[in-house]
Amino acid sequence: MPQGKLYDSPQAALADVQDGSTILVAGFAGHGVAERLLVALLEGGSKDLTLVYRDGPYASLGSGPLPAIENLVSNGQVAKIISPIPFSPGSGGAIEESWQAGWLDIEIVPQGVLVERLRAGGAGIGGVFLPTAVGTRFGADKEKRSFLQGEAVLELPLKADYSLIKVAAADTLGNAIYDGSGRNWAPVMAMAARITVAEAGLIVEPGELDPEAIISPGIFVNRLVASD
């Protein structure tokens, strides 16, 4: 029998994170965020990380991704951020200050481009031509082609070492379901990482979840920790 997917703690599930890893962090406006995993990443102390996430500026909603990502940045663990909404300009904070000081690299990517780059990475697609960045600075230095629908820009796949996702429930094989808008980036990020770690609200035995309802099949979910 292979080792099971269930880990005792978030720290154990992330114990092998190396310096220089690329890590996908699922969540939308502070919701659907694997908060315990982010704390474990902070405690683990790995450095030169590249973090990929949708947004940070929604800290006021509660324990959103920003405080943890801010903490990772102020702890000197992050070298680069790839995001459509990396921080709220003018708000201060570690991300903005580190970026201004020049030691944090930020790559802004339109949201729908980022999601397709991750999908390409996760699905083994060599690249995708998207119309989104045509005529803007995001398309300036990229290969372009004209199709029946018009001009499009070549966007390259994005793959990661880890993805940290939050799921409503998973069985011990990693088959996972979500709650409402908590789904957001998790399914595609789970596909695009070598190791996906899911923080689950509920962990059950195989057979307890309806196979028709599974959103992220267990092949995409490598490790499981309970969210409390």
Binding site: F28, A29, G30, H31, G32, R54, D55, P57, Y58, L61, P84, I85, P86, S88, P89, G90, W99, I106, I108, V109, P110, Q111, G112, V113, V115, E116, R119, L130, P131, T132, A133, V134, G135, T136, R137, F138, A168, Y178, D179, G180, S181, G182, R183, N184, W185, A186, P187, V188, I215
Partner: protein
Amino acid sequence: MVDEKERLPREVVAMRVAKELPDGGFVNLGIGIPTLVSNFIPDGSVVFYHSESGVLNCGPLAEEDEQDIDLINAGGQFLQMVPGMAFFSTVDGFAMIRGGHVDVTVLGAHQVSATGDLANWMLPERGVGNIGGAMDLAAGAKQVIVAMEHTDRQNNAKIVQDCTYPITGKGCVSLIVTDLAVMQPTPEGLVLKEVAPGWTVEEVQELTAANLIAASDLKEYEL
């Protein structure tokens, strides 16, 4: 002084935009005046709201005591659960946008050009901005309507011949609705279709940095 003359309230701008939404259409509303549009859907009409948070058929905002942490709109506001709602991942959410399945998006703007270029993601003096999903909406929605104040707070024109701010999309805006006028960008230039009550074409032109072409059927702002 034109600068001090009374302009239409934001709610009236939203009401005017609401008239443009197709009955039974799928609509994505941006933040600011666009969000207000949902309050003014004409009686008898139905509009299905798409949110890139992963919700289709968004209903009203939730009361404070019934907020569900996993039911939010794109602005992070809590939604009520309503019959007919559907949830999806970000991949599907942007396929809906990019694939032309969203009929109309209503967005705010820093600048719009006479030919419909949109700049709404970055103020150059800040050196950084949040692109979010605006660029995908501009490129993918069947129709892009801009709803905004006609000028910025210092009365600088937001409607310009050519955008000086980094653009979100080229030639994507099909209608501009402001607190002074309704305008339609065309390849020939900016056509002025409606003017706010009490305002003249000359007064609107004074606050617009693009040449306005008065429509042959130019009329008063129509609600």
